[in-house]
């Protein structure tokens, strides 16, 4: 009898603990309760329950702590200060998989807020435990562990280096090959976070043989997985020419081009980013992309999307056009200019407009042919308007000015230059007049057109300092015409004529 009563007391206590911890876990799932829970001192109460005898209480307590720490960084700091992490880490090795999942969830929730908290996690030796979890049999545990590692490695280079030093990268590459999609996603995102900081880290990831597996996974139909895989490949490829060449050797072209047609925006954006990062290193890589038809795919992608999704595609066209005039001509031939003009006009964000202006400038600056192709698309007045607009940001103004200068220095297509004469500020006017002065002396039809469209009149109205470059250009233009015409169009000519009429004595 008495033994049963004694056992009953213990059973009651255990039931009470289980109930408490389950309810706290449920309450912590809702954000509005978290403050109340915190003020009630829930963390110090949950801490001894982590070392409870019954395993279900342990992992429910860990789950509750994870949800609390997930909510905001004050709570995460409280978790760290409450010395909970060493306990978690010590008991991680011998527990069952639910506990491991819950503990990895706590580490992830703490580590995601700031680098200092992540540093605290690293210092209490959690990385080795997480790496041991990565070797576990259960895919849920692996997923939780790699998620936690990903959030830690995201903040800065030292933390990434610490994750790599703990030996996580080969295990992550093994995780990528697992059949579960969620695990693949998380492992790919972790590799992406590790390799984004520096070339050495990216090289470590490459040495573990990640590129081949990532390249295979581009064919997978799951959209989120493709998003992460493309992001990982672009973070690897962005650091140096060798890494970009390694990524290209994994035969991602032309498969990557199908990603640009995917229905998911994230996949399109990351695919375009990957192509941009590869194209920007050397002319040979850009040539490769052009030969594979990448430019056409990117142009279609720009045409079909709206918003920030277009930005990597625009930059890719700019980078390809920068390398050489043949590549620039290839971009023009692939009908690249109309979408860029559309971007310039339609988009509201200044940085996208600035990128489009930059890309147009790079396309048009090589030879008069290129400048003509850009000018024919009637984009110069738009650029000028953006330059003059007071609402544009400084970056946009600078980029449009540079683009205008670059194009104007090579543009010989006079009908496109005409409208600019009327509105341009002096520093742009210099280039426009310079171009006129180069073309007009040789072309009589152009001279005629210049007079009839009122260009000569406008030129006379320009005030330039004598001896400046502008004045020389104006003189060159004036020398192309007979003197009477020049005088006819100079300002104040009508007054001068009237004065002569006044002073004239009629011959009787």
């Amino acid at each position: 009898m008495s033994q049963r009563q004694v056992l009953q007391v213990f059973e009651q206590y255990q039931r009470a603990r289980t109930q408490f911890v389950q309810q706290v876990a449920e309450l912590a799932a809702r954000p509005q309760n978290v403050e109340t829970l915190r003020n009630a001192g829930v963390i110090s109460l949950l801490r001894p329950l982590l070392l409870d005898v019954a395993p279900n209480i342990q992992h429910t307590a860990a789950l509750a702590l994870g949800r609390l720490a997930n909510y905001n960084d004050d709570l995460a700091e409280a978790v760290v200060k409450g010395d909970i992490l060493p306990q978690l880490v010590c008991s991680l090795s011998e527990q069952n998989r639910f506990y491991k999942k819950a503990a990895a969830f706590v580490l992830r929730a703490v580590g995601k807020h700031s680098p200092q908290l992540a540093q605290a996690i690293v210092q209490c030796g959690a990385l080795e435990m997480l790496v041991i979890c990565l070797e576990d049999f259960d895919p849920g545990v692996k997923e939780a562990a790699s998620w936690a590692l990903g959030y830690i490695a995201r903040h800065n280079e030292e933390l990434s280096q610490a994750v790599v030093d703990a030996g996580a990268v080969p295990l992550l590459v093994l995780c990528i090959q697992e059949p579960e999609i969620a695990l693949k996603r998380i492992a790919a995102s972790t590799l992406s976070d590790i390799s984004k900081h520096s070339p050495e880290l990216a090289q470590t990831v490459v040495d573990a043989g990640a590129i081949a597996h990532l390249a295979q996974m581009i064919l997978n139909p799951d959209a989120k997985l493709k998003c992460q895989v493309l992001s990982a490949l672009s973070q690897i490829a962005k650091h140096s020419v060798d890494l970009a060449e390694l990524v290209v050797e994994a035969e991602i072209f032309p498969v990557v081009l199908t990603c640009l047609k995917d229905s998911d925006d994230c996949v399109k954006k990351n695919g375009a980013t990957l192509i941009t990062e590869i194209a920007k290193h050397t002319p040979e890589l850009s040539q490769l992309i052009v030969n594979a038809g990448g430019v056409a795919a990117v142009i279609d992608c720009i045409g079909s999307c709206r918003g920030t999704v277009r930005l990597p595609g625009i930059m890719m066209l700019g980078y390809v056009a920068v390398h050489s005039e043949n590549l620039s001509m290839a971009v023009i031939v692939s009908k690249g200019i109309p979408p860029l003009c559309a971007c310039l006009i339609e988009e509201h964000e200044d940085h996208i407009k600035a990128a489009a202006a930059w890309a147009l400038g790079q396309i048009g600056r090589h030879t008069p042919e290129h400048a003509r192709a850009v000018a024919v698309a009637n984009v110069l007045p738009t650029l000028l308007a953006m330059y003059m607009d007071t609402h544009s940001s400084g970056d946009l103004q600078m980029k449009t000015k540079k683009a205008l200068k670059n194009i104007l220095q090579k543009c010989t297509y006079l009908p496109a230059l005409e409208p600019l004469l009327h509105d341009a500020p002096p520093n742009i006017m210099k280039h426009i007049i310079g171009q006129f002065s180069k073309v007009l002396p040789h072309d009589s039809k152009a001279r005629r057109l210049f007079v009839t469209t009122g260009g000569l009149k406008k030129v006379q109205e320009i005030k330039a300092e004598p001896g400046s470059l502008l004045q020389e250009y104006i003189n060159t233009i004036n020398n192309c015409y007979p003197e009477e015409i020049v005088r006819y169009y100079s300002p104040g000519y009508s007054e001068m004529l009237l004065e002569r009429v006044e002073n004239y004595h009629p011959v009787l």
Partner: protein, 333 residues
């Protein structure tokens, strides 16, 4: 008058003076004349020389120019050749206009192909998605029909979907007719909440103690689930220690042996061993004697000298006695 008189007085003196002057002039005349001639001739010579020098310079100038002109014709030819070559080279290799045009055309053709393929791919994906949506909807409809099979119309009462005012029954009615009624068991397949594992089952609470001379439940369980403790006899065999030591020694000896063949003591054991000649010395018809029996080249045509080589060094006496010290049985053939 007075002047005339004065002049006459001075006349003789003047005559003297006149004569003296003439004389001095005469004496110097020759010298001065010669000096004048010399100076003049020297000056004329200078002028002529200057003129000659001038002429010389002009001639040199003309010749220089002419020679340069002559040789520049060759130079011009060379320049022409180089000009043509450079133009050809640049147009062919560095900036090949036609190749560039062809390349750009190829690029646009390729772009068209890629665009078409991507379009097809996108359409295929669209179709797949639509198909999946349709299938999903069909599945939903069928499930709903199975759930609501009781809405089927009977002989007496027309169902909801089979209104008598309609010309033909609603498609839903037809679906209901085709579908099998859903049994209750299927509805219980709902996602179970995560159960917390309890490996160590606690003893049941508050159960009535079974009537009768039974032992306490806790004791019974303890006895039932007691772990096995092997007896000492089972745990250790008789020879275990000795066997283990023997095994150890055996393995150690095996490890330290060079090879597993036994060392045989007398040469009679090796009598029937077959000799394996080395590859280096085996030729077509047996062993090569070159390198062992003689060191001279086999073909006499390749010999450097006609006579045999002489040994320069004296032979070592001790080595002559090799095999002959004790018996002649060890004679080398």
């Amino acid at each position: 008058m007075a002047a005339l008189a004065r002049l006459q007085a001075r006349l003789s003196g003047l005559r003297e003076e006149y004569f003296r002057r003439k004389r001095s002039a005469d004496e110097d005349r020759k010298i001065e004349y010669k000096a004048a001639v010399k100076i003049q001739s020297w000056f004329r010579g200078c002028r002529v020389r200057a003129y000659l020098r001038y002429l010389n310079r002009m001639v040199v100038f003309i010749q220089k120019w002419w020679r340069g002109y002559r040789s520049r014709r060759y130079f011009r030819k060379m320049v022409e050749i180089q000009k043509r070559w450079r133009g050809y080279y640049v147009r062919k290799y560095i900036h090949n206009y036609h190749a560039l045009k062809k390349y750009l055309e190829a690029v646009s053709v390729n772009n068209e192909i890629v665009r078409n393929e991507l379009q097809e791919y996108a359409e295929m994906k669209e179709n797949e998605k639509k198909r999946k949506d349709l299938e999903q909807k069909e599945k939903e409809k069928k499930y709903q029909a199975r759930k609501m099979h009781y809405l089927l119309s009977t002989e007496q009462i027309a169902g909801v979907y089979n209104s008598p005012f309609r010309k033909s029954p609603d498609p839903m009615e037809l679906l209901l007719r085709k579908s099998k009624p859903l049994s209750h068991r299927r509805q219980q397949i709902c996602p179970r909440p995560p159960t917390f594992s309890m490996p160590q089952a606690l003893p049941p609470i508050g159960r009535q103690k079974p009537q009768g001379p039974f032992r306490d439940t806790a004791e019974v369980l303890q006895q039932r689930y007691k772990p096995v403790e092997p007896t000492l006899q089972v745990a250790a065999s008789i020879n275990s220690l000795l066997e283990k030591a023997r095994e150890e020694m055996k393995w150690e000896e095996w490890r330290n042996r060079i090879h597993d063949n036994e060392f045989l003591p007398f040469s009679s054991y090796h009598k029937n061993e077959k000799y394996n000649p080395s590859i280096h010395r085996s030729g077509k018809y047996g062993q090569e004697t070159y390198g062992v029996k003689h060191f001279r080249e086999v073909q006499p045509k390749k010999w450097v000298a006609d006579k045999d080589f002489q040994t320069v060094l004296p032979s070592i006496v001790l080595f002559e006695k090799f095999g002959k010290t004790y018996s002649r049985a060890g004679q080398i053939v």
